[in-house]
Amino acid sequence: MSSEIAIHTRGLTRRFGRLVAVDHVDLEIPRAAIYGFLGPNGSGKSTTIRMLCGLLTPSEGEAEVLGLQMPRDAEKLRRKLGYMTQRFSLYEDLSVRENLEFLAEIYSLDSARRAARIAALLDEFRLADRAEQRAGTLSGGQRQRLALAAATLHEPELLFLDEPTSAVDPQSRRDFWESLFDLVERGTTILVSTHYMDEAERCHGLAILDRGRIVASGAPERLMREIDAAVLEIEGSELRAVREVLAQIREVQSVAQLGQRLHALVDRAVAEPEVRLARALDSAGVEARVSLARASLEDVFVAATRGRRESEVRA
């Protein structure tokens, strides 16, 4: 296997009793890039990450992380891996500095280098003036910066971030992503799970998960370009009436409202879909303008997850 690949899985599956949390997931994640898992809660993002760091044993399939077999070689991966859990997992009754010192000792960082490394991290993550404050009293954004500082303390090759920005304001999220790009520039591979479209769009590569399965994967731009549906934008004053009309048309996959506009996904098989919809609206006596639009990641997500639901209904 190429050393340019950080994570490789084949048929990775995890069952909890009768529930299949992760269902035959195949992944090939390159090094020094940000790879995203996009999916709703319960789509298997966390379970996949936990299998990749050796915390959960797969029910089936294989996973190779940095050339190490999981979960067999989990202990060897520890030093090369940074893991930011979904829930804040540092000690709330210890100060920012004490938390970092504790982990530095656990990772056997050189005592000479330790102080300098912690000072650099406090600086980088803008926590220097909070160093003596207890972690439990930090704000959401500060906690998240501390958690990322802790996960990168030992300069891991690989970073797993499980929904890192779920309790954070938009400005903190932007800053956070800046930090991630800095890390990637230094050669770190990052796997991040999210349910935010804008975050997913920032990733180099993306896998959309739905109920344990990968329903689409690739670079976000490619996914949007190659979406398996035509995206139409409808503007008008009677959007309610428009929706009712569109609901009658079989080829319309989904309709979502975005402010004063509607986004409709229409089957690729339909030729000139904008003409088709305009005619249908016209004959129903509803006034509206229909135009072709560029697909957003949300459209991709809707099209991908809907496709699977339909095939299930047919089966």
Partner: protein, 373 residues
């Protein structure tokens, strides 16, 4: 750095972290010093096994002078205080049922005749048999020697020598605190130390810290040893506090060597802490850990010889008690404090504690997985 020094520094890191948690917890002071202080003082005074001043009732159907003398003599022993008089045996029984008296003295109408003949007991004692300690004390009254003097006044001038002369070794004044305080030391250590470590692992699991910790290079034995290390210090602080209270409040002398006592306590402290740790690997929540810990407390307190003499128990109970750390520690601590035994003398109770420690920590390490499944 070599592997071993890395390992030791990780143990130190865990221990330092635990110590910081303790320092930040507002209840720590209470649990470390308050509980031993309160329990030693309270129970040192309250638990008293030499029974005195039992409330007694009398029904005197004879009404003679020697009958009254008998009652006076019985009261002079201080075992009973006559607090009620009844007209009939039935009325006396009623007082006993109502709990107003613990002992009833029945002097039958033919008391004088019985005394003269000497073939039957002269009087009757009605005792609340529900309490074995009261029953035992009342038994002492049965052979009250004074009565014999009235049986044959001619012999009264020749006090009969008692069959046995009782001499209490190690506790000549037969004061309860001397017996109780060293044992309380073991009970208090069990209650506080087991609870400290019983929540040690579960707490991290509940708060989500464990998910991070198990993805670090820390090894399970390092985690376990680091977790109990700070509490050994706390155990020693408690032992010292209880011994000081025992010495200066209850006047309990320490016959043996203080070094032996501290070494023996150390072994017990380690055993109690790993007992808690084992509970912590079995429980899934802190609440479960507390429940499990409490389930183990009752057998320890009841079977260890703290409440009841060990030799009086049937063999299955004794066999179970031999597994419990407190049983061995009570023998060690009573031996060293009261009888001046050396560590060598109490070795038969040291090695079971060492074995318990080794088994419990091994099981804890085996039970703990650096996995979530």
């Amino acid at each position: 750095m070599t592997g071993l020094s890395r390992s030791l520094s990780r143990v130190a890191a865990i221990a330092r972290k635990e110590f910081r948690h303790l320092r930040r917890d507002r209840l720590t002071g209470g649990r470390v010093a308050g509980v031993p202080l309160m329990m030693t003082v309270l129970f040192g005074y309250a638990i008293n096994q030499d029974v005195r001043h039992l409330r007694a009732g009398v029904v005197d159907l004879a009404g003679t002078q020697s009958a009254r003398l008998l009652v006076q003599e019985a009261q002079a022993t201080q075992v009973i205080d006559v607090v009620a008089r009844a007209e009939s045996v039935a009325a006396l029984e009623q007082l006993l049922v109502a709990g107003r008296i613990a002992v009833g003295i029945v002097i039958p109408a033919d008391f004088e005749r019985r005394s003269a003949k000497g073939d039957r007991a002269r009087a009757q004692l009605l005792v609340d048999g529900g309490d074995p300690i009261v029953l035992g004390a009342a038994r002492g009254l049965v052979s009250l020697p004074v009565a014999d003097r009235f049986a044959n006044p001619a012999l009264a001038a020749w006090p009969r020598a008692p069959t046995f002369e009782l001499r209490a070794y190690y506790n000549p004044e037969r004061r309860s605190p001397v017996h109780i305080v060293p044992a309380l030391c073991g009970v208090i250590l069990t209650l506080t130390l087991v609870l400290f470590t019983a929540v040690a692992i579960v707490r991290e699991r509940e708060r989500g810290n464990l998910e991070l910790l198990i993805t670090t290079p820390v090894q399970t034995p390092e985690l376990m040893i680091g977790k109990i290390a700070p509490y050994v210090g706390i155990g020693y602080a408690q032992v010292t506090l209880i011994l000081l209270l025992g010495r200066y409040v209850f006047g309990v002398p320490i016959q043996g060597s203080l070094i032996d006592l501290y070494l023996g306590s150390g072994v017990f402290v380690a055993a109690a802490l790993t007992f808690g740790l084992l509970i912590s690997t079995l429980a899934e929540t802190q609440f479960q850990a507390f429940q499990l810990a409490f389930v183990t407390f009752l057998p320890q307190i009841l079977l260890s010889g703290f409440m009841f003499p060990f030799d009086g128990m049937p063999w299955p109970a004794r066999w179970l008690a031999e597994v419990l750390p407190l049983t061995h520690f009570l023998r060690i601590v009573r031996g060293i404090i009261l009888r001046g035994a050396t560590l060598g003398d109490v070795w038969p109770d040291i090695w079971p504690l060492l074995l318990f420690f080794a088994v419990a920590i091994s099981l804890s390490i085996l039970r703990f997985r650096k996995r979530l499944d």
